[in-house]
């Protein structure tokens, strides 16, 4: 897991037409975009290009630098290894043969198309998700989820988790650093102990972290009680969308629908 979200947080405070949009609109647009990609049949290159263009236009509007988004979007790439198998799995016109040990694999054109489509779709989906989080405060995403009628408790738990995530990650990294500092090895002797022992050390760290977290949650609970908490989670209610928000949402969703329609019908 990468902890580079802070590199994205730098972009959240920028001022742009995309940043200014309501979080609910951006969440819906992101979901709509990813769903559109999912619905798109394989090999619809024109539609894929259109979708990429739409997204990159948004990135440009948001002034967050296309390079960053493209690079960060490669996180999903390891999974593409699994998708390579599609090349050999789909029936279609044979392209070439590959022999690995006892297996004789035949690549097909349909398979190649499926593979490339899946990788591009995945790459674009990650970019859309990145775009959302680079232009929207996480708390506003939570508010949007609440507005979409997710159970209050669930959103409240998410907010707590988000708040203490970094506090506990700091604690965890301090533990790792402390272990590092004491992980010495004698010259010429194999250091580090057995795997079981190493796992036990990590297990104890996990246990310690659990106890600290548990005790912290008790102190937090007391702090909440002290400020009037009675078991009911309260937040300010959200404001209605303005006309620019609504216009953008309708425009983008209509474009997505058009792309899908064009790809399937023509």
């Amino acid at each position: 897991m990468s902890l580079t979200s802070s590199t994205l947080e730098r972009y959240v405070d920028r001022i742009s037409p995309v940043h200014a949009l309501d979080a609910r609109v951006k969440v819906l647009m992101t979901l709509g975009y990813i769903l559109t990609l999912a619905f798109l049949p394989n090999g619809e290159w024109a539609a894929l290009a259109g979708l990429a263009g739409l997204l990159w236009w948004g990135v440009w509007q948001a002034r967050i630098g296309l390079g960053l988004v493209l690079r960060r979007a490669f996180v999903a790439l390891p999974f593409a290894l699994v998708a390579v198998s599609l090349v050999f799995a789909r029936p279609g016109a044979p392209l070439f043969d590959l022999t690995i040990g006892p297996w004789q694999l035949t690549a097909s054109d349909a398979g190649l198309i499926a593979f490339i489509s899946v990788v591009i779709k995945s790459w674009l989906s990650v970019q859309a998700a990145l775009m959302l989080i680079a232009t929207t405060q996480v708390v506003d995403v939570f508010l949007a989820l609440r507005a979409f009628r997710l159970p209050t408790v669930l959103v409240a738990v998410m907010a707590f988790a988000y708040r203490y995530l970094f506090v506990l990650i700091d604690e965890a990294s301090r533990m790792l650093r402390a272990r590092e500092c004491r992980s010495a090895a004698h010259h010429g002797r194999r250091g580090g102990g057995s795997i079981g022992w190493r796992a036990a050390v990590v297990g104890q760290m996990v246990g310690t972290l659990f106890l600290r977290s548990y005790e912290r949650s008790e102190r937090i609970y007391v702090a909440m009680l002290s400020r009037g908490y009675r078991g009911e989670v309260r937040t300010l209610d959200t404001q209605p969308l303005d006309s620019r928000d609504r216009g953008t949402l309708i425009g983008v969703l209509a474009t997505l629908a058009l792309i899908i329609y064009a790809a399937l019908v023509w």
Binding site: A156, A161, V206, G207, F210
Partner: protein
């Protein structure tokens, strides 16, 4: 950066968007929403208001605990998924909620796993791990008569099982999405056999440590070590748990047998017989496969069936959340 890639390869459980076909992704969203709805209701009715901060901090804890790793071999590292641990410490439904939040935040903040694929990811790494952890853990625990060191050993076993189940489900979803079974199952299960051992060892050590330091906490948390807690859930739970464990081993064996023969086609046939294999080469966008709407030509009816499918999912999700809210009596606030 490099080790992060290796981890990504080794763990391989956060499915990004694009790899699951829409029907598969949406089907698992439905399952996940149902599971979360049950969990919200259960935690809401069984436990007090202390739960909200507790579960929030616990989700952050699991998140951070996943960072604590130890070197295994060749640059790979062992680390925690945490679903079984969460369920054993907090109880099954709190465990489900905590893990759902963990997986959701990973996708949202770090793009670890897709948004459309999140339903599947939450189910694999959250719902299944927590329920297997608890469902298989309770009957095993009873074998040890509820002794506290029993909980630690059970921790190892169910942690391993939970990882295998998560890997198995991930493979199933990939196969349903058209990846050949021979590619999905063997490497996934093979790699996770070892990753599961890491998970088991860490879970074991963590629980042993917690029992040694704050035994009061473990008792109050899930009620699993106390005689009363054991009493309460005897009967149906025991049978259910044993069934789960048995089924898991049976599925494992079924999958392993064609593996042993080294014939990928054989495996694929097994998968097909058991209904695992979807229509690998069908249009992946067909939400209602084989259902074309009469009187409307092919592509339009495909679009329509897609739209209807999505609408159904949203109606279902909406309905369930509404039902939960009504039951919980959540008032819209100040």
């Amino acid at each position: 950066m490099e080790s992060q890639w290796l981890d990504g390869l080794a763990l391989g459980l956060h499915i990004p968007d694009g790899f699951l076909t829409t029907p598969v992704a949406l089907a698992w969203w439905v399952l996940t929403v149902v599971a979360i709805a049950v969990a919200v209701r259960r935690t809401g009715s069984e436990l007090d208001e202390r739960q909200v901060p507790l579960m929030g901090v616990m989700a952050a804890f699991i998140f951070a605990a996943q960072m604590l790793n130890f070197p295994v071999l060749g640059g790979t590292s062992g680390h925690l998924l945490g679903g079984a641990l969460a369920a054993l410490l907090l109880g099954p439904w709190s465990g489900v909620l905590v893990m759902a939040v963990v997986v959701g935040l990973q996708a949202l903040l770090f793009q670890d796993g897709g948004l459309l694929a999140m339903g599947a990811n939450i189910f694999n790494m959250g719902v299944a791990t927590a329920l297997v952890g608890y469902g298989a853990g309770m009957p095993l625990l009873r074998l040890f008569g509820g002794r506290s060191w029993g909980l630690a050993i059970v921790g190892f076993v169910v942690a391993w099982l939970s990882v295998m189940v998560a890997a198995l489900l991930t493979s199933v979803q990939l196969v349903l999405s058209g990846v050949p079974a021979a590619v999905a199952f063997p490497p996934m299960l093979f790699v996770h056999t070892f990753i599961g051992i890491g998970e088991g060892l860490i879970t074991f050590a963590a629980i042993a440590f917690i029992i040694a330091t704050r035994p009061d906490l473990v008792k109050s948390l899930a009620g699993v070590v106390s005689p009363a807690g054991l009493e309460r859930r005897a009967g149906g739970g025991l049978i259910g748990g044993v069934t789960v464990v048995g089924l898991l081993f049976a599925v494992g064996a079924a999958l392993a047998s064609p593996l042993a023969s080294g014939d990928p086609d054989g495996l694929e046939r097994v998968a097909e017989d058991q209904g695992f294999l979807g229509r690998a080469s069908d249009a992946p966008y067909a939400i209602l496969p084989d259902y074309t709407i009469p009187g409307i030509d092919g592509s339009i009816s495909t679009i329509l069936s897609g739209v209807i499918g999505v609408a159904l999912v949203f109606v279902l999700i909406y309905g369930i959340t509404q039902a939960v809210r009504a039951r919980r009596g959540d008032a819209p606030n100040a």
